[in-house]
Symmetry: C2
Subunit: 338 residues, 2 copies
């Protein structure tokens, strides 16, 4: 028995021309939609995350309080719950799953929000990492619908350095001969996934996080225990190599400037955002550094930058560090109250 | 015909107990040794570097001026010129090449310097990256012999985060089935080497280097051109997978505290350095961040920190950026004059 629902997208044509027939979004909601339908918040998932991985930011007394808001967490296409290489039938399955963009994800989510729930205004869209990317995309795709956005530890367009980081992750997965060009069937390329986990490990947390041995606070007993127990475990926890590569391509190609009508002009797309924005990068995030978000904030008409202090790096937005959780929650409260 | 020389180490017993029989150091010298033998500078190589890769910092009018100094560039064990997995005979060849430490490298270099040249005082030891690690090790192994040290973009002991970065590089090389546990013979695991190159690419230069597209200044025409032309080319340029893994292990295990007599006490080892030190980390070096070197400088009796400003990250010390070359050269001049 599953505790979430599906929204049928039908024949869903993607930005790059492929049509996913019988596409669907897995999603979960928290709280009740108000009669006026004015209390819905969209909170998309991150790279390889599932809706339950977002739940740390939802709760009684928090900004995302289900007693007050109707919180919709749509699973990103490719994450293994929504349509993904691992779960669609041939011929678009496995290695043939098409290129899905941030724009495509938000288009699908917009249909969920409007068609299933009849919601036409969103007090807030928020998300971590690729969830932040989808948050920016919501602001650009639906400027008159989204009142506030709060992207944290993520960006409006993937920087060149971030792409290089992703190239390393991708190369590690695909270097494993067991990957077989994506046609590995049900036998995951475990060596490649574990290699990708080790590549990722250096990026996820800051230099100082490791220097201070903060992995011990998470219950790991040595560096190697953290690499295997946390990171390799992370990449093996019901993940699928093609799913990871699908989401990686979504990330790699992310750019609000590629929204139809903007001709690749990222700055014009940022200028078009009408939502009030609170942008919260992590002080020592190694692939979404605060400088990049300062750049974006300067180009948005109504945006504020608030850096999450500390050494947790990108994982400041993962929900594992109570101080960072409180910081993000406080930011959301302030934004929602404004 | 080769333009460098060999020093025969004979049966060279390593710190961890293996004996490399018929071991040798490849080296090159620049300038003339003075009659008083008081003008020798040791300038060790870096991870995968060869002596010719150090030549950008040697020249007329520079600090390392062959008209004044006798500059000895010893090739690190495992780099393919000195004894290495790729060039020693069985049974210590290929995957069976033993664990070589920083201490071992400096012990071998000390024999070269004293036995071949009769040098008993060194006005300076300097080096980049793993060359900086060897520089620190010289200061600890031979405190009464080394008058000055100038490690740049490197450390006295490999930090935990730096080890995680190395784990990613190692995992990428070894994920390739063609690696065959190190028994690939003369057919390099090219997929693994290229994957390792892509992993390394994100670390070598800073986020801002990529944001500013400075790879174009190096003659590359796109991000992908840089990844293939520079990085993959780098890892294929007469490199050998076992050699890279041998040097990686030297790096991974580097710690001046592991010098015999210090029982793993890194701080005690740093305190024992008598040389006057100028430590120059790169402002945005992602794996040898300036904070780590500030930590080391605080523990050395006679050391100064001078951060190389700018966005070239670790490669500030690679010799490709004229501004950084001038900065490092000026530091060396000042140190040598003091």
């Amino acid at each position: 028995m599953i505790d979430y629902e599906f929204f049928e997208l039908g024949d869903f044509t993607l930005q790059h021309g492929a049509t996913l027939r019988g596409a669907r979004l897995a999603y979960k909601t928290y709280g009740e939609l108000s009669p006026a339908k004015d209390n819905a918040i969209v909170y998309p998932t991150w790279y390889s995350g599932r809706h339950w991985d977002n739940e740390w930011l939802i709760g009684s007394g928090m900004a995302l309080d289900p007693a007050r808001y109707f919180i919709i967490v749509p699973n990103m296409i490719g994450n293994g719950l929504s349509s993904s290489p691992s779960n669609v039938p041939p011929p678009y399955d496995q290695a043939r799953f098409p290129h899905v963009t941030m724009y495509d994800n938000v288009t699908a989510q917009h249909r969920l929000v409007t068609e299933r729930f009849g919601v036409e205004r969103l007090p807030l869209v928020t998300g971590w990492s690729m969830g932040a990317g989808q948050t920016y995309q919501w602001g650009v795709s639906h400027p008159d619908m989204v009142e506030r956005i709060a992207p944290f530890c993520g960006s409006s367009h993937t920087s060149l350095h971030n792409k290089v980081f992703l190239e390393g992750v991708k190369a590690a997965i695909t270097a494993d001969a067991a990957f077989r060009g994506g046609w590995y069937g049900t036998t995951q390329p475990v060596t490649g996934l574990r290699a990708a986990a080790r590549v990722y490990a250096g990026w996820g947390f800051s230099q100082a996080f490791y220097w201070d041995r903060l992995f011990e606070k998470l219950g790991y007993t040595s560096l190697e225990d953290f690499l295997i127990g946390f990171w390799e475990g992370f990449f093996l926890d019901d993940r699928d190599a093609n799913n990871l590569l699908t989401m990686l391509l979504t990330w790699h190609s992310a750019d609000v400037g590629l929204t139809p009508g903007f001709n690749g002009d990222t700055e014009a797309a940022l200028r078009s955002i009408k939502a009030k924005a609170l942008v919260m990068p992590g002080e020592k995030d190694l692939y979404f550094p605060p400088e990049d978000e300062a750049w974006a904030v300067e180009r948005m008409p109504n945006a504020k930058l608030r850096v999450i202090p500390g050494v947790w790096g990108h994982f400041a937005g993962h929900g594992s560090n109570p101080v960072d959780v409180a910081f993000i929650d406080a930011g959301l409260k302030e934004l929602l109250a404004s």
